[in-house]
Amino acid sequence: MTKVEKVIKDNSKELNVNHKDAIRLRIPKTYKLFIGGKFPRTESGRYFKVTNKKNGKMVANMCQASRKDFREAVLAARKSWKNWSGQNAFTRGQIIYRIGEMLDGRRSQFIEELIVQGYSSKKADAEVDLALDRIIYYAGWADKYQQIFSSVNPVSSSHFNFSVCESTGVIAAIAPEDYGLTGMVSTIIPLLAGGNTVVVLAPEKASMAGITLGEVINTSDVPSGVVNILTGNVKELVTHFATHMDVNAIFYGGNDPRIISKIQKGATSNLKRVLIYPKTEWEDAESQDPYFIMDTQEIKTIWHPVGF
């Protein structure tokens, strides 16, 4: 093997290619943002490096999303909200199930990317399994949580009175930093099941898998703009997430008191719902239940007189 061939082979291993013929050069992916059903680069032209955790070698230049990217994503999310919130619950469940199907088909890619970003192969494998199970879990809730949280109210006057769940709207979300794909899925999927649209900041430690999840979502019949995924710096973006006037709620899966404080202060601009989950565990059974859907639901109560 020539020296050049050896270099090429090493680089291929770097990217975890199992090709027997290591001479062939791989085509590395440019990781971009996922906004409005498209994969644009950040308008800011900025990037941060992802290196292979094992040997420190460069793997990808991730987009460092800007405030402008976030605004574009909110526009896309707002535009798609009417369609998505108006979908019937059964269809939303089917589409979420389809996300699971698509993800399962690409599990090896997710495993690869998680390993590059520092997961052991065993852990990466378990991570993908868990993420998949969680998607299927919420797919099933999409047409059931309404019956748990709605009510027919026995008012004393001659009226028929009932309360239903409706989506809160556009949600800006900061996915848990240390829970990779599971954290992303646990953030996005309950919001989708409840008819919301979302702009989510992928965890830096699983930014590759985060963007690849966008590719999965984009091929799963999820309408454009319903899910938008950014990569970047949480400290830079958090204030913009919290203060945007067309975002209805902000989700944070973490416990950094400075970030929490910025969220709580910024949210007052338009009375955003503040959803903080200072959990240090996103993998156990308590990390999935319909109350995660309920947290981004508004209760609407409707009255009508009863009479001939």
Partner: protein, 490 residues
């Protein structure tokens, strides 16, 4: 048919209403009230009092204590002690029994409470008697029953109480708002510090007497009277676990700002600018009654008032004529007269605010119409008012006035009116009038508001969740959903 539609009500009858004042000889108001802390009335730490007046005749009703930081602290400490030593140790069954007692005593004293409510706040006695006080009692009854059944409310979860809850209420439904706040908080096992509105403290203080009569353990409910400062001290107090507030969106935002960086929970029930939509296929006479109720109920001092009326173009003329005719029959006057439809505006600043908006509307080019009925010579009163030919950009369309002022716009299609109705930062309530069932459901579905009244308006019930979307607040009061803001679910 056409002739009938144009037929005007004949108001020129010999049957004028004779005065029908409610007798006040049974009513006991003390000259001076302290704060209600740890089960007894006590003087304010700084010794300061302020007057509460009758807005219908400007006469002083009583002096009430001006709450200071020290008073708030005493009240919170008392609530904390009660939480730790008694209330959190009681069974749900016993908590419920206390609430049932309170409900019963409110019913027994309903007449007295209704009269004091009208004296202190200016609302017509008919409304105090038939709406405020019965609903307040019903609210305690409803939540009393929940106290020992909480485990059934949230499947898969174990609910637990929060601790001391700070509650701030407005002046438009003084006793009813106190009931909305206190009943679910106690049923879920919390203890309370309540601050009533500055201009309407009396029925909350009467409620304190009722709480004494009911033998509620001292400190479970504490009531500190005062103005915005007292409220701010309560919100800032480090030992409260939650703030529940009903009032303006501006203050709601301030509260959210103040408690940022703490782990205090909060529920906010804030302002509104509800769209009341009348389609051409509505039952018009019913709709007119509904419009009157939506904007003139309680002098329009209602956060969920239907203050924006949208009328389909084809029926605009006839509907507005009918509305004007109906307005001529409304009696504005003494709140304690049983025939009064519209009582006194709650305070001088509020009357000035309403008058300011009446000027703004005219300046912006909307056409003001007011009924011709007379107003009393003293006291704070305002004629029922309409703004015709409003544009979406008018301040009287965008901003909450909180008075008997209705802004009217017309529309052609359902799609158009839904866009207009939702074009507001508020989302508390909405109304739709049509005889077509499918249209009701479609419109109700598309209006972004927490309460939709279809072919009715301004109805309330303890079993019915109430609260806003968007900048009208967060959390629900009433019904099963009203338990949630007072619990942690594990």
């Amino acid at each position: 048919m056409k002739k009938k539609e144009n037929m005007k009500l004949n108001l020129n009858t010999q049957w004028d209403y004779a005065p029908a004042p409610e007798s006040m000889d049974h009513i006991k108001i003390q000259k001076r009230y302290g704060h209600f802390i740890n089960g007894e009335f006590r003087e304010p730490v700084n010794g300061k009092y302020f007057d509460t007046i009758n807005p219908a005749n400007l006469e002083k009703l009583a002096e009430v204590a001006e709450g200071s930081k020290e008073d708030i602290d005493l009240a919170v400490q008392s609530a904390k002690k009660a939480y730790n030593n008694t209330w959190s140790r009681l069974t749900g069954k016993d908590r419920g029994k206390f609430l049932f007692r309170i409900a019963r005593i409110i019913q027994e004293k309903a007449r007295e409470l209704a009269i004091i409510e009208s004296l202190d706040g200016g609302k017509p006695i008919g409304e105090s008697k038939n709406v405020d006080i019965p609903l307040a009692a019903a609210h305690f009854f409803y939540y009393a029953g929940w106290a020992d059944k909480l485990k059934y409310a949230f499947p898969g979860k174990t609910p637990s109480s929060l601790g001391v809850v700070g509650q701030i209420i407005p002046w438009n439904f003084p006793l009813l708002m106190a009931a909305w706040k206190i009943a679910p908080a106690l049923a879920t096992g919390n203890t309370v510090v309540l601050k009533p509105a500055e201009t309407t403290p009396l029925t909350a203080l009467k409620l304190a007497e009722i709480i004494q009569e009911a033998d509620l353990p001292p400190g479970v409910v504490n009531i500190v009277t005062g103005g915005g400062q007292a409220g701010a001290h309560l919100v800032q107090h480090p030992e409260i676990s939650k703030v529940a507030f009903t009032g303006s969106t501006a203050v709601g935002k301030k509260i959210q700002q103040t408690i940022a960086g703490t782990d205090k929970k909060y529920s906010l029930e804030l302002g509104g600018k509800a769209a009341n939509i009348v389609f051409e296929d509505a039952a018009l006479d019913q709709a007119v009654e509904g419009i009157v109720n939506s904007i003139f109920f309680n002098q329009g001092h209602v956060c969920c008032a239907g203050s924006r009326l949208f009328v389909q173009e084809s029926i605009q003329d006839i509907l507005i004529q009918k509305l004007k005719d109906r307005m001529e029959t409304l009696i504005v006057g003494d709140p304690l007269d049983k025939n009064t439809d519209i009582g006194a505006i709650n305070s001088k600043p509020q009357l000035e605010k309403i008058k300011k908006y009446l000027r703004i509307g005219v300046e912006e080019g909307a056409q003001l119409y007011q009924s011709s009925n007379s107003l009393p010579n003293i006291g704070y009163f305002c004629k029922p008012s309409l703004f015709l030919n409003c544009a979406q950009s008018h301040r009287v369309v965008q901003e909450e006035i909180f008075g008997p002022v209705l802004s009217i716009q017309s529309f052609r299609t359902a799609e158009e009116v839904i866009i207009k109705a939702n074009n507001t930062p508020y989302g508390l309530s909405g109304g739709v009038w049509t005889d077509k069932g499918s249209k009701i459901f479609k419109v109700a579905d598309q209006i972004r508001s927490g309460v939709i009244w279809a072919n009715t308006f301004n109805k309330f019930d303890p079993a019915s969740p109430f609260g806003g979307y968007k900048e009208s607040g967060m959390g629900r009061e009433g019904g099963l959903h009203g338990l949630m803001p007072y619990l942690t679910l594990n």
